[in-house]
């Protein structure tokens, strides 16, 4: 075991640290230093800047446009991005469907889709949940009917986050009604510009434009858009979940909120001194930071396994359950540290920008313990698959 970085790795850190502010447009740099509050357009701009530099996909293999970095460089890169407050990138292409296509796609699919994910020419969203299929995802009813060289898709997907900014959606659709529910599902890539697709955005609790409903009315989808084979969709969904785990650990966002909590606490007074120097408040913050440190170590273990080409150990299964709870506790603490200022709701110029951004983010992160398989479903799965407790 060794937790130190080599001189080359430290040099790499300095390179990344120096590059980030230079590469950002002025307005983005201001936001990064302040509150964040990036728009999807900001994320797309930053995506293109990283693409030009060749740094947009640290976790992809080199031969398909990744950086070829080892685990240590990826830790460093991610850490520097978070510390700099850089805009978050859309995960659906780079971190979800991209890696799935790399693992299971045909050569034609790799050639067609991967370059445009990298270059930000095409953005993606996810079509899994339906109004009647949340935790019981396998009960989904959106159908893809076999029509020779293509499918005809009908149904409704919900929580297709950022579909209004996306060009493509990766969907789970029903292709066989006659078999066990998991066995009749196919993983299908659908062009959102196809006739018969309608996207209806809705506001989140934080009044951010994230959520959408997406409707499919006799949408024609070529069969070559199936990933992993017809009726193999459930296997694909499970494989994708493996890629999601380290993502849902929320290490970067938590680090970012922790910094914000400290900045706010340093700027406010209690008992005649900065809150960050008050023993009670300091202890409250320290407790969450110490838990975050332990959580980060679990995540490092998983990433190090991946780097060695091994499946992450069973401990990686807890990352979502622990990480999503932690980000909620951190955003709650940020609200608490703000005191009365936590009442603010989109009043530009009234509160410092960092504080103005917390309320909406706090509201939005209530979704973290629900999406990606609710934490209760995660516990069901861990109880069965890892602890091997008896079924009811």
């Amino acid at each position: 075991m060794d937790l130190t970085f080599t001189d080359e790795e430290e040099a790499f850190r300095q390179e990344v640290r120096a590059w980030i502010p230079e590469a950002m447009p002025d307005e983005m740099r201001e936001k990064a230093r302040g509150a964040g509050g990036f728009t999807p357009e900001d994320s797309a701009t930053w995506h293109r800047i990283l693409y030009e530099k060749g740094w947009v996909a640290p976790h992809w293999p080199k031969e398909v446009g990744g950086t070829g970095w080892d685990a240590a460089r990826r830790f460093i890169f991610n850490e520097e991005m978070e510390l700099a407050g850089a805009p978050p990138l859309s995960v659906f292409g780079l971190s979800m469907v991209g890696p799935l296509i790399i693992s299971f796609g045909t050569d034609a699919q790799k050639k067609r889709f991967l370059p445009k994910i990298l270059s930000a020419e095409e953005f993606w969203c996810q079509g899994y949940s339906e109004p009647g299929s949340g935790s019981d995802l396998a009960s989904l009813r959106t159908t893809a009917e076999d029509a020779g060289d293509h499918f005809i898709v009908n149904g409704q997907k919900t929580w297709t986050s950022f579909a209004q900014y996306a060009d493509w959606v990766f969907c789970l659709v029903r292709t066989d009604q006659s078999v066990k529910k998991q066995a009749g599902i196919t993983f299908l890539l659908i062009d959102l510009k196809s006739p018969g697709v309608e996207v209806k955005p809705m506001l989140t609790l934080g009044h951010t434009p994230a959520f959408c409903d997406t409707f499919f009315d006799n949408v024609k989808v070529p069969k070559e858009n199936v990933v992993g084979g017809i009726n193999q969709g459930w296997t694909m969904a499970k494989a994708l979940l493996g890629h999601e785990r380290t993502l849902l650990a929320m290490i970067g966002p938590s680090q970012n909120v922790l910094q914000k909590v400290k900045r706010i606490a340093a700027s406010k007074s209690v008992n005649g001194r900065p809150m960050l120097e008050d023993p009670v408040w300091r202890a409250k913050i320290a407790r969450l930071e110490m838990r975050f440190r332990a959580h980060t170590m679990v995540s490092y273990r998983a990433l190090a396994d991946q780097q060695k080409g091994k499946m992450p150990g069973p401990e990686s299964s807890i990352l979502k359950v622990v990480g999503t709870k932690l980000i909620q506790e951190l955003t709650e603490l940020a609200m608490e540290v703000m005191g009365e200022s936590s009442l603010t709701w989109y009043n530009e110029g009234l509160c410092p920008p960092v504080e103005e951004s917390i309320g909406p983010y706090f509201c939005y992160e209530r979704a973290a313990t629900i999406y990606g398989g609710s934490n209760e479903i995660q516990r069901n799965v861990i109880a069965k698959m890892i602890l091997q407790l008896p079924s009811s």
């Binding site: 075991m1 110490m290 838990r291 060695k308 109880a383 091997q388 407790l389 008896p390």
Partner: protein
């Protein structure tokens, strides 16, 4: 960065685990907890022959020049069956302090025989008023020519009831200073104290106990800094032991959920209990992961990072580790509260580890007062 044990370390962990299981099952601890010593010098000697006590010490004193990681792995694996020999007290508390503070002659006289398994050590640092503050010593060391006289009382000295040599902190004219004192020396009065977890410690009174100048470890006033470092090793060791305890308690609980039947089914099929068990698993893995960091950091001289990870680890023991211990009893039901069932023995040991080497509040305060904590990105 590398989070894997190397092959030698994997082998060591396996060997110690097998020793614990085969040669010192929990039944042995039960038998010995009522004996005068609480463990067996013969078993200690065997551990010495296996080379385990020498792991963290340099070859020049008969050690193996290994890292603290090896030491922590031994502790973690001995904990799985509550092996009663005083590894933490003698090797980590006594040995690491002696290694850092003593000279070559003192190493040869006191450390080498301990490494070989012939003797044990104890560290007498705690006093009734000191509560985790190693610089708070009211025991005095009064110079008499080149020698000293010690007066005062040390409390809860782990293995103090049987150790051949005590390492004692006392206030000399130059500040807190460490001395090696034979337990059986004149003026040293040992009262045996039973502890909640079935072990033994000692209250030790020094009544003008004469100590020759050659038994002083290092310069006058050098004691507090050495003890501060020892406390970091000890906290990391306690966390490693906590990992062994929590892992065992979790496994026992999962096994119980898979066998115990009520309402005509295995109770492990109930979702409420499954989710509790998963949360126990999560807390155990958090503890294991931060323990890995703390055992690596323990050998690092960079104070800020070392303290941050060790405090975070001890905090996770105090929160997550204790919670695992509590839930293990709850899920076992009434049987867990009997002395007959082993789960309660692990439970009590977890609480003992929690109380030693800095409790939750101590480590929260230490973490929060490090300058790095208040560094705010602009």
């Amino acid at each position: 960065m590398d989070f894997e044990l190397d092959q030698d370390q994997q082998m060591l962990a396996k060997t110690v685990g097998e020793f614990a299981k085969n040669e010192s099952p929990v039944a042995r601890f039960r038998q010995l907890r009522d004996s005068a010593i609480g463990y067996q010098p013969a078993a200690w000697r065997k551990m010495g022959e296996l080379g385990w006590m020498g792991v963290p010490f340099p070859e020049s004193v008969g050690g193996f020049g290994g890292s603290f990681i090896d030491c922590a792995l031994i502790i973690e694996n001995l904990a799985t069956t509550l092996v009663p020999e005083p590894y933490l007290a003698s090797v980590v508390l006594g040995g690491m302090t002696l290694a850092r503070a003593g000279n070559a002659a003192q190493h040869e006289a006191y450390l080498t025989p301990m490494i070989e398994g012939d003797t044990t050590l104890a560290l007498a640092y705690s006093e009734a008023q000191s509560r985790h503050d190693v610089s708070s010593a009211e025991t005095t060391a009064t110079p008499v020519g080149n020698d000293y006289k010690l007066s005062g009382e040390k409390v809860w000295v782990l293995n103090g009831h049987h150790a051949d040599h005590l390492i004692v902190s006392a206030k000399a004219p130059g500040g807190v200073t460490l001395f090696v004192v034979p337990r059986e020396a004149d003026g040293v009065n040992v009262t045996v104290a039973k502890t909640i977890d079935g072990h033994k410690a000692a209250f030790i009174r020094f009544d003008d106990a004469a100590v020759d100048g050659g038994s002083r470890l290092g310069e006058e006033g050098s004691g507090a800094a050495v003890l501060d470092r020892t406390m970091d090793y000890a906290a990391a060791a306690a966390v490693a032991e906590g990992v062994g305890i929590a892992t065992t308690m979790l496994q026992m609980t999962v096994d119980y959920l898979g066998t115990r039947e009520q309402f005509g089914v295995k109770i492990g099929s109930f979702q409420a209990l499954q989710h509790r068990a998963v949360d126990m698993y999560a807390e155990t893995e958090l503890l294991r992961s931060i323990s890995m960091a703390s055992m690596v950091r323990a050998d690092e001289d960079d104070t800020s990072t070392r303290r941050a990870d060790i405090s975070a680890a001890k905090y996770q023991l105090a929160t997550g580790g204790i919670w695992v211990a509590q839930q293990s009893l709850q899920l076992h039901g009434g049987i867990a509260v009997t002395d007959e069932h082993d789960i309660g023995l692990y439970f009590k040991r977890m609480y003992a580890l929690n109380a030693l080497f800095g409790d939750q509040e101590h480590h929260v305060a230490r973490f929060a007062s490090d300058p790095a904590f208040a560094e705010v990105a602009v």
